[in-house]
């Protein structure tokens, strides 16, 4: 229900901006590759290591030029933010879990441009809000009797629970290039880093355990300038 509200607001804002459009507004589509890691404490766990997993993102982007060197850009993306946990303990080392998470993520960034007439460089910086849409887990687990260890593959959806913080937000920044094909159409390529400031795990009053996602995104976009 909340997700629908957010989508409606975002689309409404874009429509509103479009009605007031002049030559400064651009709208486009984008897609790319992501790589995500998780920052969390290993306190209390002796053999768990976390590593990055790759994914993809796709979405729409809207820009509004304020001056010839500064503009504002807002994206609305479906983004995979996945990571992996391995057990390293002797004879449990086949055990691992890949956490495949899907987010709806909306960065709002200031864009500072520099460079030539067709080819521009730009720096981007701002904040983002995101909503955790879906969680799947894949991997290998085990079952232990007094005499045997069995390993078993798993691949399933994970139900969200009261510990999951589905709304998160953070800081996003990066750099990129854009190339204007003509006065209306341009390509852009961005490298962005999403740095979460809201924990994915709510924790408890007397036992805090924040986990933050970090995502590197490399994307390509195409925009039409009105």
């Amino acid at each position: 229900m909340c997700m629908n509200k957010r989508q409606i607001i975002a689309i409404g804002l874009l429509c509103l901006a479009a009605t007031a459009a002049d030559a400064q507004l651009s709208i486009g589509v984008r897609g790319g590759w992501t790589q995500t890691s998780i920052s969390q404490s290993n306190t209390g766990r002796v053999d768990e290591t976390f590593s990055k997993l790759s994914g993809y993102e796709t979405g729409i982007q809207a820009g509004y030029s304020i001056t010839d060197w500064m503009s504002v850009r807002a994206d609305l993306n479906f983004m995979q933010r996945s990571y992996r946990k391995d057990r390293n303990l002797h004879y449990l080392d086949p055990v691992f879990t890949e956490y495949h998470n899907s987010y709806l993520i909306m960065p709002v960034m200031a864009v500072f441009s520099f460079g030539g007439e067709r080819l521009h460089g730009h720096l981007l910086g701002g904040g983002f809000a995101s909503y955790w849409l879906n969680a799947e887990i894949h991997g290998k687990t085990y079952w232990l009797t007094d005499y045997y260890v069995f390993f078993e593959d798993f691949d399933e959806y994970r139900d969200f629970n009261s510990e999951d913080q589905r709304f998160t937000a953070g800081f996003v920044g990066g750099t990129g290039l854009s190339y204007s094909i003509n006065s209306n159409l341009s390509f852009n390529s961005d490298i962005l880093y999403y740095y979460d400031l809201v924990s994915q795990h709510k924790g408890y009053d007397h036992l805090s355990d924040p986990r933050y996602l970090n995502t590197l995104s490399i994307s390509l976009g195409i925009s039409y300038k009105f």
Binding site: L89, T141, Y147, N161, G173
Partner: protein, 422 residues
């Protein structure tokens, strides 16, 4: 360009230190030389390890955060009292720990806490809390503690010839050593029906068939072999059915299922789904993992195809594997039938503290160093449902309480059922 970079750097610096640090989570496997300097720090350590390692937070009704809020001030009062030179009696500590653990759903749980500053005049230094016993003793069909029942049942079965027509009777008390030392008693007999058919009957006080068959006690293994051989090789027309008596069975080895269930199936069967704690979050678990039983060839008989009744007698003191056996057999074998009482309710798996690095849960602590918490390692589902605190509900309830505590009524009901299956 320079201005842009400065703006970006300022924004980045502003946000870079906005992440919170995690609190210290004690590793649940810590049972080394923990030295508590106060009652409060002792409780805090136990509270935190429970918070990260207890396996039933998804079904637990005890509000663990409220326990902290309510009890920390009480422990601080005890510390104040101790620091003022007054005695803190173990009964005072006991009242607080019973508030914390006394109604938890883990029926395996036994909590041992040491009074770290015992008074010389205090006869007690240790607290013992068993939420399972607390709950079971409230049931209206509760009669006695399992140790008393084991003795009573053993003595009753020693004279079973006076009650039934018996053509063979063997018994043993086996002492097992190794990783899980235990004493286990057996009675095996062949009950003769008036029509000449036979019922192989086995009572086991614990689930220890596997270690006995793997080089444990030779008398015990012979008794088990005789029971299983009678089931496997008695001609169908002479075999009325067979009985496994799990009353006062306090549990043991899950590998026993290979004999008690694997002997009677033709293909692998999923009997349980299980998971363990992963990550310090209370609701962080491994994926549910199926536990399969495979056909066991040595004593194999397809009792389903031959429609042979398999009756298991259980009661309120059938604990852990003593109740997991009827729960799983009932779910797989259509000719099985459970008679007796709703069992204790300790239906999930345990690993000993030596294996805590594997599971991040289960029994932890050091009895001599302040605390030892015996708690379940695995959470289990039977046919998709948790049975923790519930146990195995028999197909036919026969309460000893309704028969003046007599051990015979439940065996009578089992024989009657088998006779009715012609």
């Amino acid at each position: 360009m320079k201005r842009n970079l400065i703006i970006m750097a300022v924004i980045a610096l502003a946000f870079s230190n906005c992440r919170n640090e995690a609190d210290y989570h004690p590793y649940i496997g810590e049972y080394g030389p923990l030295a508590y300097d106060s009652y409060t720090s002792q409780f805090e350590h136990i509270w935190k390890t429970m918070s990260t390692g207890y396996v039933f937070w998804d079904i637990e009704t005890t509000d663990w955060d409220a326990v902290y809020d309510d009890l920390i001030p009480e422990f601080e009062k005890l510390d104040t009292k101790h620091n003022a030179g007054e005695d803190v009696y173990t009964t005072e500590l006991s009242a607080l720990y019973k508030k914390a653990f006394g109604s938890m759903c883990d029926h395996h749980m036994k909590v041992y806490i040491k009074n770290i500053f015992p008074s010389p005049s205090d006869p007690y230094q240790y607290i013992y809390v068993s939420p399972g016993n607390n709950e079971v003793e409230q049931r209206d069909y509760y009669i006695e503690h399992y140790e008393d029942e084991q003795v009573g049942l053993y003595n009753f079965l020693s004279n079973i010839e006076t009650q039934y027509d018996i053509s063979m009777h063997e018994s043993a008390v086996a002492s097992l050593h190794g990783e899980y030392p235990m004493e286990v008693a057996y009675h095996y007999c062949l009950i003769n029906l008036p029509d000449g058919r036979k019922i192989p009957y086995l009572w086991q006080s614990s689930a220890a068939i596997t270690p006995n068959m793997n080089g444990g006690d030779s008398t015990a293994s012979a008794i088990i072999d005789h029971w299983l051989t009678a089931i496997a090789y008695t001609p169908r027309e002479q075999l009325a059915g067979f009985i496994l008596d799990n009353r006062a069975n306090t549990g043991g080895y899950q590998d026993d299922m290979d004999y008690l269930l694997g002997s009677f199936i033709n293909e692998k069967k999923e009997i349980i789904k299980t998971r363990y704690k992963e990550g310090p979050g209370r609701l962080e678990y491994s994926a549910w993992t199926p536990y399969y039983i495979y056909p066991h060839s040595k004593y194999h008989r397809d009792i389903t195809a031959e429609n042979i009744p398999y009756v298991i007698i259980c009661d309120i003191n059938s604990i852990s594997m003593g109740e997991v056996e009827p729960l799983t057999i009932k779910s797989v074998l259509p000719t099985s039938y459970i008679i007796g009482e709703r069992t204790y309710g300790a239906t999930c798996g345990l690993q000993m503290p030596e294996r805590i690095n594997l599971n991040y849960g289960g029994p932890y602590g050091d009895y001599n160093n302040g605390h030892y918490v015996y708690t379940s390692t695995f959470e289990c589902l039977y046919e998709g449902m948790s049975a923790e605190g519930i146990g195995c509900i028999p197909d036919k309830t026969v309460l000893r309480k309704d028969h003046n505590g007599d051990f015979k009524a439940q065996i009578d009901a089992a024989i009657e059922y088998i006779q009715s299956c012609q």
